[in-house]
Symmetry: C2
Subunit: 354 residues, 2 copies
């Protein structure tokens, strides 16, 4: 049994769970190295507190051989839920939050037990990145920095958001040799007032700011960084830039093992609120990241979880003035007892495009 | 209230459902034209049997104004499940199968009711494509035929699967001006023995067959077609080609309104089984398709659903000989009382590449 499954087995004991059902693509990748996409067909690992593990796979797919589990293949004409119901032994069953609720309701009918959320156990393990994982996170962000450096010369009045978007995709192919970890956000001028703006044919005008939020993979680990570039002559945006930068840097400085994540959010939020822009910082300060671009835990006003050794998360304060524009500055960080590691090194001081 | 929601309200009455919770991206798109991606943040339409409808949306996103529902925006610091629990009125609640099981378990704790699967009601409505939807399906398949025509000259000994894959992506950009409806499958020679082979650097050798399974969108509606190209001098593959082609054409001829989908599967399966290849036809005959590339219902040995006016599904028999190769031939069809419409017109007679 591999180390990660051992840790999960221990968490199950601590939380009085008899059985754990792992169904999420990334959980399966993390715990047993299984990376098959089965679409709407059920794929589930049933882990008993004894350590016995069974992987249910549609016969159209092949799971690699492993000492960690026994693979049970089912055909399209069979009911995998019935097979699972015959295998599960526990009375208290933890399920993966992202499982299909239809499968869960079917299993609830087929096998009587107390069903509870189980993903939080896996999150507790996954949030602490080991040395090799930290190395991959650092390298993914180094590649991301490099692409930010290479996109910089393309930022010129007259270019469109989609042109920059397409150029980013090309640069990532050159630099990280793979797909992006999420669709890059490129927002010019007032589009920056919407934190989730989708790139379109908007043309960059004189004086407008540019938000670029982007990421790639290294060895299956994600990067995610935002920078806001400026043009001279836009006083309000320059003013909020200073505030957001202060919120970003102070929040990064404040990180300590053992502090609640909500306190980390508060450091940034207080700075923005005191400057009078509280209502315009409309999202959480950050999110966990690893093999998924969004992983537990949120760095938000309500997250009570404590910062732990090896936790990797984003620090991304922003101010969004609807119909005017916005600023967001985002780095990834790894919390460590020997000092926080900031993964992004692309400059954060005000950068003016030509 | 729009016609689709009216139909759903009627289905709810027929099935004694008080409340329906719609959360799936495509269900929301179909029923209320909502197309926002909210990632891990909850997005849900609560429809009561009275017709009252409330859409719960994170405040970072914007749902378009509509007479069909009231939008309730929540912030990251709020618990949307608590808001939903305060809104739901019914005692028997149908939920979307694809909902996040973690959200469902939270709602089960927050609001006591009988929870049942609800997607089947929506499937009953969505499976019958109206005239405009049929027009879009036909056009999407016409574009797909055109790309099959254009890829044909690139199929030459020495080319790699990835080169054909990349060329397909380029051709779809030219022809359908958008993304593909699923990652194209390109399988050479013995790779064709795995129905879900992922394209790689395999080089096409003399004598090998080529399976291409691909699709695109028109106006949000999907196409999906498979053709197998041959080279001379491969008797076993030629033999199974004849069997698969017969299974495909006979199954298409057999389609009648009112017949169970499993009988449709049986027509093809019997032909393949009688020819001695039953164990090598390892998947269902087909699947529903529309705004999603896989929609209810399966055309499988176990699906009792009857063929209905306006149903669109794939007819894709295949024979897969592990380590040898395979053949699959797939068309989309629309069942109609006035005669089945076959959506693909790219030739199915044996085609030999140069």
């Amino acid at each position: 049994m591999n180390r990660r499954l051992e840790l999960l087995k221990k968490k199950m004991q601590e939380n009085a769970l008899d059985t754990c059902i792992i169904t999420d693509f990334y959980q399966l990748k993390y715990f047993i190295g299984c990376e098959i996409h089965t679409g709407e067909r059920l794929l589930a690992l049933v882990l008993e507190k004894s350590g016995e593990a069974t992987l249910f796979v549609n016969a159209l797919f092949h799971a690699k051989e492993s000492k960690d589990y026994k693979a049970v293949y089912y055909h399209d004409s069979e009911d995998p839920i019935a097979l699972m119901a015959n295998t599960i032994q526990g009375k208290r069953v933890g399920i993966d939050d992202s499982w299909n609720a239809g499968f869960l309701l079917r299993l609830m009918s087929a096998y009587s037990a107390e069903y509870v959320r189980g993903s939080f156990l896996m999150a507790e393990i996954r949030c602490q990145k080991d040395e090799e994982e930290q190395r991959c996170m650092i390298e993914a962000s180094r590649l991301n920095d490099e692409v930010m450096r290479r996109i910089r010369p393309y930022l010129k009045v007259g270019v469109t958001e989609m042109e920059i978007y397409d150029r980013l995709i090309t640069l990532f192919k050159e630099v990280s040799h793979g797909p992006v970890s999420f669709e890059p956000i490129v927002a010019f001028g007032k589009n920056g007032g919407d934190p989730h703006h989708e790139s379109d044919d908007t043309v960059l005008q004189k004086g407008e700011a540019i938000i670029i939020d982007m990421g790639c993979y290294y060895n299956g680990y994600c990067s995610d960084m935002t920078r806001t570039f400026l043009q001279h002559g836009n006083e309000e945006i320059e003013k909020i830039y200073d505030i957001v930068l202060k919120a970003n840097t102070e929040a990064e400085k404040a990180i300590r093992i053992g502090m609640p994540l909500k306190d980390e959010d508060k450091v940034a939020r207080d700075i923005i609120t005191e400057a009078g822009y509280g209502p315009y910082f409309t999202h959480r300060l950050g999110h966990g990241i690893g093999i998924e671009v969004h992983e537990p835990y949120d760095v938000s006003e309500s997250d009570e979880v404590l910062v732990q050794e090896g936790m990797c998360f984003s620090c991304e304060p922003g101010i969004y003035l609807p119909e005017v524009g916005g600023v967001r500055i985002e780095d990834l960080v790894i919390a460590r007892a020997d000092g926080t590691v900031i993964l992004n090194h692309y400059p954060k001081e005000k950068q003016y495009i030509d």
